[in-house]
Symmetry: C2
């Protein structure tokens, strides 16, 4: 039985559509009344684990799921031993430094040394400011990072920006990008090595479907 860890939330709908194109129908996970965390595929040959974003690489690194789909941002932040297999192309967003629109800062390097940076992605933020040689104090928040600059707790934030609407609503602007993120297919290295061809078949079909998605501009 092949187990696939799928991230609840923004990536789920596109993920299910892409797997359907590759021959695995997990559409049951999208049914409004679904409360199951472990959902069999329509063919009965595979199952989906419905988990939080950050937990996808955990289940895949322990081999409880042989495959998983999760944002590149999560892979960067948690740095667990999983194999990155396919850039699925959808779920595009940027990891950005943002400040109050009324502040004088227009590049990350403008920020004062030892200023405070609030983020859900403190590891990504730490790497970025280390590379800039700018010492900062990182404040880990679990959500609503915009409140950092609004309340005056931090000079800036590092957060995912998709449309920029949340930033604008809170009087913030993005001033610099750390990286661009999209949904990635990841795999358990040992399972891929011991694969009898079935996993590779799914990977190949998802790669082909992602090529088509990319060349037609569909996300």
């Amino acid at each position: 039985m092949i187990t696939v860890a799928l991230a609840k939330g923004a990536l789920l709908k596109d993920t299910v559509r892409r797997f359907a194109e590759a021959g695995l129908d997990f559409s049951a996970v999208l049914e409004p009344g679904n409360r199951l965390l472990m959902v069999p595929s329509a063919c009965g040959q595979a199952r989906a684990l419905l988990v939080r974003n950050a937990d996808v690489p955990v289940y895949v690194s322990y081999g409880q799921a042989q495959l998983g789909v999760v944002g590149y941002d999560v892979l960067r932040e948690h740095a667990l031993p999983v194999a990155q297999l396919v850039d699925l192309g959808f779920g595009g967003c940027r990891m950005s430094v943002a400040v109050k629109a009324s502040s004088p800062y227009r590049r990350a390097a403008d920020l004062p040394a030892h200023c405070r940076i609030a983020s859900k992605f403190t590891r990504c933020a730490e790497e970025f400011f280390d590379a800039l040689d700018l010492p900062v104090e990182l404040i880990h928040l679990a959500g609503s990072v915009e409140l950092g600059p609004i309340t005056g707790m931090s000079e800036a934030i590092v957060d995912l920006v998709a449309t920029g609407r949340t930033l604008a609503e809170n009087g913030l602007i993005a001033i610099e990008d750390l990286f661009h993120s999209t949904a990635r297919l990841v795999g358990h290295p040992l399972s891929l090595r011991l694969d009898d061809g079935r996993l590779q078949g799914i990977v190949d079909r998802l790669a082909a479907a992602s090529q088509v998605g990319a060349s037609t501009g569909a996300a």
Copy 2:
């Protein structure tokens, strides 16, 4: 202006009710259409920050909120420098070790050395198993911790248990409690020290309301 950090989610309704009894009306945060993260009290003398559970002690420790309400479980897990002021009595639950009902383990000490424990509260779990002198491998999950034993990734979990319904639905049973948790009023130590009496007035009224709540058995 007094700022109070309130945890979104299960504690919010009781928190707002208790603050109303103490003279601060934050009922606007409960309005279904509310999207604001910073909500003024009806009297205009205070404001509420609506944040995630884990972020309440962050805002209070940095003094961005002078007071906050959050579960004891979060205070134990994050161990930030805030003053615990009042046990508000509601939001009762236990931090428990749970295993598959079909497993042979009936006490935490029965678990095999080097077994895996999945938890959102890995610091609490680490302290508990350290005190038992039982070496375990901790796996941090962001949600749906029940999947740890179900998928076979972990022998046990450490998680909050309120009614026990989620455990039962997933074929798990609690075998030992780490501690009991309730909602706590916390404060920013320096703000309390520099207080002109207004903060202490709120603390005293919340303490009095909590006494009444406790003695009449209301939660």
